[in-house]
Amino acid sequence: MSWLLATLRSSVGKKFVMGGTGLFLCFFLVVHLAGNLLLYAGPDAYNSYANKLHENVALLIVAEIGLFGAMLLHIYLAFVTASENRAARGATDYAMRQSKIPGRVIHVAGLAPDTTMYITGALIFGYIALHLCDFKFEVFADAAQLAADPYTKAAMVLSSTSRKVIYAIAAIVVGIHVSHGFASAFQSLGLNHPKYMPTIKTISKVFGVAVAIGFGSFVTWDGQRRCGCESPATMETAPTTMPSTAPAAATESAPAPTTPAETVPQS
């Protein structure tokens, strides 16, 4: 098992784990975005997808263990390597630093995606905690939201202005993080070839933009209007808010927010 320890202790081994878990989490982002895009296909498509996903309990448990495991390893190694990297500079830092990379054009005040992975990663961690509280653990949900079907739930969460702002910023930050992370993982895993590396780097940047726009777009999604939870009230407000406004607009395609998820037609 010493090779396993070496994987977690040696500098190169740590980058294998960092890159491997990072790519796995990128794969999750693709699946997650694909699923979320069904919100645009309407309540029926989205609810049937969500319900089918949650029916398969075994798959869900395995996937969640995998995702949390990958996330924890990724974060643990981020802390370890970041503290080692800070220490490696020594007691005195440079008074002046300038990049010598001629093409380093994407930067804000000298901050580029690849030099701010720790910061964007920390922001993403904070966001994931909130996102899980919103959708998985439903910490802030009122009775109406708890009883709502997945489509309406998403609309209710995203009806809050605070969530709109946070989710939009998070989408951009995740995009910045993966725009370096995706290509970097290939390099760390040794999957580098002079012919393919430029393509991988381009894909990485396109992926970052796609993630930012894709996830960010749900902030402007009109599901709130469709399901009738357009109320400016935030989710923390009294539970009476939702039912009072819901029936008025529930006549369109969306089911009433109070419909239990189980009754959504499936097939």
Binding site: L5, A6, V12, N85, T92
Partner: protein, 273 residues
């Protein structure tokens, strides 16, 4: 004050790191230089500074230099925050004063890394690199006299790529320019050089495990693929070699008896005797 761009001489303000020894605290000290020719190399400009300091009865600025033609890897210096100064693919000794303008302030610092302790002023101890090479950066068979050139066939691609890695002069600019003070480009250059040649192939697993183990115990940082090392490298060693180092490490760790037994992974000695 003239700011002529075609003038043949420069008046400069230097901000130089002065540090008596490793135990002392260092500080920047400002010096003024007048009438520096644009034809001078950067190190010649420092020679002028030191003559001036000697005349004033001050201790001259200590800096590393040797061949002064860009092949020995002895000179260093962080010049205005850039390893070996503003030019790509050159060492400090090849940098000329025509790259600077009249009245410019030039900040000169030593390489800064925990593994490169300052000895004095701008001179740092780079023997951590020597210990990494001792941990496997060589071919240990006796080769005798040079063999007939065509007796060991090496493909054109492998030969070119191996020599592209072999050009590393071991100056430490990669460590200096890396935001993590990582020595990955240096280690990658040697591992990649020897792994692509038949002479280096038999010891490739022990080499990469030993050298990475030594690099880690010297407390260099980890690679985050920002490629600053590649841009700062005066010999133009590409980060492609870092990917090959990573491949070599994976093959050695998961596919060789040495790696699976966990030998050579963290020791500070060369081990394996």
């Amino acid at each position: 004050m003239s700011h002529s761009t075609t003038g043949k001489t420069l008046n400069l303000k230097l901000r130089v790191w002065r540090q008596k020894d490793n135990a002392s605290r260092g500080e920047f000290r400002d010096y003024a230089l007048v009438g520096i020719s644009t034809e001078m190399s950067f190190l010649e400009m420092l020679d002028i500074l030191n003559e001036q300091l000697l005349q004033q009865g001050e201790e001259p600025v200590n800096f590393d230099h040797d061949c002064r033609e860009g092949i020995c890897g002895t000179c260093s210096l962080m010049i205005n925050g850039q390893a070996h100064g503003p030019d790509n693919g050159t060492t400090t000794c090849q940098l000329h004063m025509r790259r600077f303008h009249d009245g410019q302030m030039i900040t000169i610092e030593p390489w800064r890394a925990k593994a490169f302790p300052v000895i004095r002023d701008l001179v740092v101890d780079r023997s951590a690199f020597d210990r990494i090479i001792q941990a496997g950066g060589y071919v240990s068979v006796r080769t005798g006299q040079a063999p007939e050139a065509n007796s060991v066939p090496i493909s054109k691609n492998d030969q070119e790529s191996a020599l592209d890695a072999a050009v590393c002069i071991g100056c430490g600019a990669c460590v200096a320019s890396c935001k993590n003070a990582s020595a990955m480009l240096f280690v990658a250059a040697k591992v990649s050089h020897l792994a692509q040649l038949p002479q280096g192939a038999p010891e490739r697993a022990a080499r990469v495990l030993g050298m990475v183990g030594q690099m880690d115990s010297e407390e260099f940082g980890n690679c985050t693929n920002t490629s600053e090392c590649e841009a700062a490298c005066p010999a133009g060693v590409s980060v492609t070699h870092i990917a090959r180092l990573n491949r070599e490490y994976a093959k050695a760790l998961y596919g060789s008896p040495l790696g699976l037994k966990g030998e050579l992974l963290t020791s500070s000695g060369t081990g394996g005797d």
